[in-house]
Symmetry: C3
Subunit: 342 residues, 3 copies
């Protein structure tokens, strides 16, 4: 791939500046200490400047120019993201099936764009719509009146229930279930009476749902996963949740019903947010943490019930001193008794 | 829908009483402050009595008669449940497929009732039985000698392994797996020797399993999910568990092997119960809690290891005071030293 | 089944020793207090020696010879494992389908051994390979260039993405997803830039993955699940994890990206290990525990952040005393004030 193509896509600038990008072919990408001539590498952390000096790469993404290397420098505000974009150019995948298989089931009232791909055993239900460039793998199910936008991929075994909307350029990995009923019951002496779940699940553009996520439909208010948001495996988004844009939720995270979360929310593995809460934008939740109260200020929260990170670290450290503290207090008690008996 | 039909189903009584239910058509249901003329609403919380006074609904479910409104009152011991029942009357769904598809696979030795619906790509294995009114969506699998009762729905991608039983009027959402092997191994120097899992998984009547639940089969004792019980997404019921009737388990809950749980058990999100325990009826477990000892008394339990709610709240509050307590003890120690040196 | 066959497989020795194994037929297996004549039983725990004396079984696996019973004794270093092996001989399952169904989709460039079984609705993609004796149930998907070894079973609804490897004699239960993308994104002002996940997921021999597990493919380094390892339902193995041999991970466990774990690792339910850590062999992690630092020493760890078991128990006990401790300190403070005012 030509260096010029890479720079055009990632937007970096050569250092030292030159009028015309040299006609160099980049053969691949690699870590800074493993790159060979012909390859492109990157460096974010100034601590590893030494590695830059000795790299054998042909070019390097850097945040700031350096005089430690004669390698071609591409200065970019976010070398890590630039490298990710470049990696995407090298590792594009094509699908093994083209067209719309006779072994797929397409309801006569469904609308599938001629440029969409349907693998065998895909099922497109009544009134469902699939946009151009989208690909539905085997054993996918697209329910009644649900829609998939353009250039979206549903990997094998994805189920999308009725009346749901999936945007453009989404990746929905195997085992995801979108738009199943939320958990709503009115306990009664005769048992638990089901509350119909009649609102939609909406997945906006550029969303990625990794394997085994469940995104429930709303009861009365739609469930929304905002554009650019990425969910790791086995994440649970309950009914009526509104999750903002460009969020990142790591594996086994859960957001309970009707909770509204701002943009750029980040949650580490196994974190959970309780029901009917409001969480500001730019909040970061630690691993295994549990939020059970609204969060109005952006920042980092840990523990359960979750508290600001600094306070949590203090309490966690204190916790370790507790067995000693108990002994210390016992000893003080004795000394006080002695003083009292003087 | 006629008001008379609603009252017949929900069982409320008009206030003021009248000999014959007036011939009124109810056009829909809505929250008390959003309802329009023609609609039915409800109110449970006496705190919001003011909203009742100003509602524009045509009729309202109430726990007790009020003189704050001229709207038609339907007095019901559980207005919330009555509203849920009414909502079910308005939002009944029909299935897009009727009959038994030629694209479904039915083993010659399977027994499928003529009134059951099989979507394309459903697979009914040898000796399996499907009752009348039941619906198996695409990509469902019903294993050897397993049975599904009447009026039960298996949504897309549900797998039921061999020798299992699913009752009547159940809803099994996409991605559920029923009757897969439980986790039983005998560690040996050659590795982990598998203990055959030869008992069943039994799902009784009126059970709802939401997306992605896994209900393992038993090793020697059957796994049982009691009638009327409802499980949220991604709940795990291990081998040999016996879960009572009318239980509610929220998302990502887990019950470990051989544990026996009574009726009306309620567990909040991400709760877990350890193996081989007995839990009384009418127990409520808090979010992210973990039970690791038997529970003989009904009541509310929180934390991990879980303890009675009141005690847990006390400990949680104390926890926050710990960093200050450490400082306080240090200061007392100094004052004692000073006293000792007097 | 002949006793001689059982002894040949399990490797025990008769007591009292005899030159030739008597020609006895074993009709089944049962717990020591429930076994009938003709059946085989076992006893591990010396505490229950009394039960051995009164068992009605025809033969018994024991760790050490006893004179408490006249029942035929088979002395075995691991009676529990011997019993499990015997149970396997009694409970072998056959599959209801033979051969390769016309309703399965086999890509022309796939290689399926003639001795492999493909149920209807299985999908074998381009370049994929299936070894002899392996069985792919309905709604399974084997991705491009992925391979399944010999005598491995993929239960209904399993998806294996491209370029992955599954070994011999594995059991992969319904709903598992192997080789979906790991969670790698470079946050940028334009959003979260996806880092291509181009390495494999490798499942070695004799691995069992129970229902709903997700094993992600690697970003640059392969994800590996070592031979003999068994995962319970809903376990998450993230990208680039290397999990050793003969490990046991209970339900809903999670291992975050790039973590390397030794052999015979055991984790109780809902445990989690953070990213980019190294964990020694022979480590045991307690229920709901969370490891967030490397573990160099084998042993038992509990809590979150996890600490050695003994220390955790001490802190947990201390925790309960905290509310009283606070009161005690307040009382000491008063007594000190009084002393100071003397």
């Amino acid at each position: 791939m030509k260096l010029a193509q890479i720079i055009e896509k990632t937007g970096g600038e050569l250092h030292p500046p030159c009028e015309k990008i040299p006609d160099i072919t980049i053969t691949g990408i690699a870590p800074v200490d493993k790159a060979s001539p012909g390859e492109l590498t990157f460096q974010t952390n100034p601590r590893y400047a030494g590695k830059v000096a000795s790299t054998k790469a042909t070019a390097i993404f850097l945040g700031k120019p350096t005089d430690q290397t004669t390698v071609l420098q591409i200065i970019h505000p976010n070398p890590y993201a630039a490298m990710a974009m470049t990696a995407q150019m090298f590792f594009t995948r094509t699908h093994t099936f083209q067209g719309q298989s006779d072994l797929a089931f397409i309801h006569p009232e469904a609308q599938v764009d001629p440029e969409a791909t349907l693998y065998p055993f895909a099922y497109i239900d009544k009134g469902a719509r699939v946009g151009s460039g989208s690909v539905l793998y085997p054993h996918t199910y697209l329910g009644e009146n649900s829609s998939v936008g353009k250039n979206t991929v549903l990997y094998p075994g994805v189920s999308v229930m009725y009346d749901c909307e999936i945007g453009n350029s989404c990746l929905i990995h195997s085992g995801c279930v979108i738009g199943a009923d939320g958990f709503g019951f009115a306990p009664d002496k005769s048992g638990n009476v089901k509350i119909p779940q009649v609102a939609k699940a909406i997945i906006e553009d550029d969303v990625e749902l990794q394997a085994g996520c469940t995104i429930d439909r709303g009861a009365l208010e739609d469930t929304i996963v905002g554009s650019g948001t990425k969910l790791d495996d086995q994440v649970l988004i309950a009914h009526g949740v509104q999750l903002g844009k460009n969020c990142l939720i790591a594996g086994q995270g859960a957001i309970a019903g009707s909770t509204k979360i701002g943009d750029r929310f980040i949650m580490a593995g196994c974190g959970a947010i309780g029901p009917s809460l409001t969480v500001a934008s730019d909040v970061l939740v630690g691993p295994k943490a549990g939020i059970n109260a609204p969060i109005e200020k952006s920042g980092e929260y840990h523990g359960f019930p979750a508290i600001p990170a600094r306070q949590w670290r203090k309490e966690t450290v204190s916790q370790k001193r507790l067995p000693d503290l108990i002994k210390q207090v016992q000893s003080l008690q004795k000394r006080i008794e002695e003083l009292e008996n003087r």
